[in-house]
Symmetry: C2
Subunit: 440 residues, 2 copies
């Protein structure tokens, strides 16, 4: 893609309400544009990052055997009345009346809807265990939407729902999702900590939230640094291994400030291992047994032919929120670097251009076509602007690899660098080879 | 995927309102489930087909240089008041009032929203020409939603918007999209006819709808058969070639019944070339100049520094509707065959199983793992059911290739067939080879 053609409207004057750095960066690099309070359009650059995150989330759901489907955004009020949450949910639920005056709502979550689908078609334990997920837009009518896509009203979320016959099996489904979440955040280049959590309006008796470290995060966290020594890759997707994995995590102290008690922290964690920082919630998982299946009469016949309410869990990851969360974790001192797995482009070519000499642009274009031919997703900064300004701009765009074509370049040798690393001179063949290690 | 684990709740007793065959088949094969009137959940099988269609639509948009973004589903009423459509749109627009009593709506289309984004950031002709698209859920509050996802309320649509400086350039953008649409429908295995159309509530002075042939279609069509002799692949994505392509199409008579005049038809089309059939609209494109840019004050500076209202077009493809449209075109006499490009699975293995002998299931499982290893998306019908019933079921599922493991199979030789073709005996190597021609 040529930068001159990429629709990336960069805001130079930030609006006053853009208070956190992800919101600022997303506006400054034209990733999003506000449509109305708490509702955003995703412009090409932001859209690409979000789609890459979505793909990783999807792959890790598929890896644990979850089946993808898609529920609609607009739900009938009836099912929420059955579960008892229609009145409880309060003003955050966007209530809608259609032309026939039927009570509808824009789904903030989907426990009721998936329970309705399940009960209408599954009658026997034989289809169990089962996990379904979808990645769909949700709406929560926040009183004061703020922080850009971090706390917005219309947001993109992966939510999954597990169905099991027994509590034991349900806990295994829970553990599988716990595992998938750790792997997901790892692939996104994030350090995540699973923390025991309150179940809130979803309900139930077992819950973890997944917090990623970011020193500008919304919640204070207190943890034992040893928790980072647990290696997800050492566990396998089977019952005993996943059980052990979760036990390992629960050994270490890790809480947000609402649960923090200083004496407990000091008692349980060595001074040198005490981590006090901030974090952002990017995932939340719940086990809630028959909280929905019972009032909604969702049962299957067990092996003895006896009707049994299915045991359910639900599991959310904020896909749109993750775009901002990654920025909060990775953007510092006017410099961004996207994790390689979700960067909007693989590499950017930055030629020094001026009106009287377009030889660098010519070289750049040749290299650009060469890289494209090799399926490298390359951006060419073909804009006539001085190099210092270009570098500033690309510090914000955060594309992890740069090829600089300026005074140092000779013939087929170009300055190649990882955005925060040292540059080396490489020819186009070797640049292609280098990039293919990460991409393609 | 094992069929016993696939969530594919097959409805045997069809609801009375399922009157057309796509609606019936989608319910009978568990592709969708109604959530409320005109609103559906997409279950795994339907979801897979829709995603494959979406991918093809996306690729052909990218091929003509359109940039993908994503606008939200909920829009502010303000911009619709600016364009003058807020009152015009009538009750089909789902109007929403949020907790702050702000007037919002669930977008039925996005001309206003994209114009607002464009005008706020593009000030010069230099970014032109430009085409943006998104694939997003829309809502039209149909008075009588019916025919399943063919005429539903919440639907998935690709809509694109072009921005140009002059009418000539805008018509070129229009022609590019015309070309992309023909290629899209071709890749979906459909015969499509572009027809001059009314512009309706979108407005403007140039419009085509793309109709695919299906003898159960909603509109009668009258056309010159010679129109199918035009080969899209003979045209190139450049101005003169695309102009010629559109001229070629306009040479041939092709209208829906609202424009049909028998004497014109007889005068212009040889009897033997007269085609009278039915069709389904799956795409609609519009050129409407400054219909939105003028009232919404969306202008750029031209080369002489003079403010000029941009010339716009909009271009829709009903992605969710296409799932049903393909069924209408391909499903006959209780037999479905998905086009290879969008089939929910590449191939199904159908072993004859009974309680006393699972040797066929064993063979089937071995072959299943072999195919999976080769990245073939294979379904294994591991259900204990007689072969006759299995065949009936797979006639409906419509997976284009079948491997039957029954009395005819010997050692490593299996009956392999395209669903409507003759079977041949092949070993697993040759089956893999055969399938790799189409997939992977």
């Amino acid at each position: 893609m040529l930068l001159s053609k990429l629709f990336i409207p960069i805001t130079k004057d930030l609006p006053a309400e853009a208070k956190i750095k992800s919101h600022q960066l997303m506006l400054r690099t034209g990733m999003i544009r506000q449509s109305s309070a708490g509702i955003y359009s995703w412009l090409p650059l932001g859209f690409k990052v979000m789609k890459k995150i979505e793909k990783i989330v999807r792959e890790e759901q598929n890896n644990i055997g979850a089946q993808e489907m898609l529920m609609p955004t607009i739900q009938p009020a009836d099912i929420w009345k059955e579960s008892g949450r229609y009145d409880d949910y309060g003003e955050e639920m966007l209530r809608i009346s259609d032309r026939q005056k039927r009570e509808m709502l824009y789904g903030p979550t989907n426990e009721e809807q998936i329970t309705e689908i399940f009960r209408s078609s599954v009658k026997s334990y034989k289809l169990l265990p089962q996990i379904f997920y979808h990645i769909q837009w949700k709406f929560r009518d926040e009183l004061r939407p703020r922080f850009g896509v971090m706390r917005c009203r219309e947001f993109y979320m992966k939510d999954a729902y597990s169905f099991d016959l027994t509590e034991n099996e349900a806990v295994h489904s829970y553990n599988k999702m716990f595992y998938a979440y750790l792997k997901t955040f790892q692939r996104l280049g994030l350090k995540s900590i699973p923390m025991k959590a309150e179940t809130g309006p979803i309900g139930g008796d077992l819950s973890h939230e997944f917090i990623i470290l970011a020193d500008t995060g919304e919640s204070k966290i207190f943890a034992d640094k040893k928790i980072f020594d647990i290696k997800v890759e050492e566990f396998k997707n089977n019952e005993s291994s996943l059980k052990k994995m979760r036990e390992n995590f629960s050994k270490y102290y890790a809480v947000t400030d609402d649960k923090f008690k200083k004496d407990e922290f000091d008692k349980n964690v060595k001074k040198s291992d005490q981590l006090q920082t901030k974090g952002i919630e990017v995932g939340h998982i719940f086990y809630f047994g028959d909280k929905y299946s019972k009032p909604m009469n969702c049962s299957v016949d067990n092996k003895d032919g006896k009707k049994t309410f299915v045991k359910m869990g639900s599991y959310g990851i904020g896909v749109s929120r993750l775009v901002a969360a990654i920025i909060e974790a990775k953007y510092n001192n006017e410099k961004m670097k996207w994790p390689i797995s979700v960067s909007p482009f693989d590499v950017v070519i930055i030629p020094s251009i001026n009106k009287n000499d377009n030889s660098n642009l010519k070289k750049a274009t040749k290299l650009y076509l060469e890289l494209k031919k090799n399926n490298i997703d390359v951006l060419l900064d073909d804009i006539d602007e001085n190099l210092a300004n270009k570098f500033k701009k690309h510090d914000l765009l955060g594309i992890p690899f740069q090829i600089i074509i300026g005074s140092k370049s000779q013939d087929d040798e170009f300055e190649f660098k990882e955005i925060d690393g040292k540059s080396k001179m490489l020819n186009s063949n070797n640049i292609t080879k280098e990039l293919k290690k990460y991409f393609v």
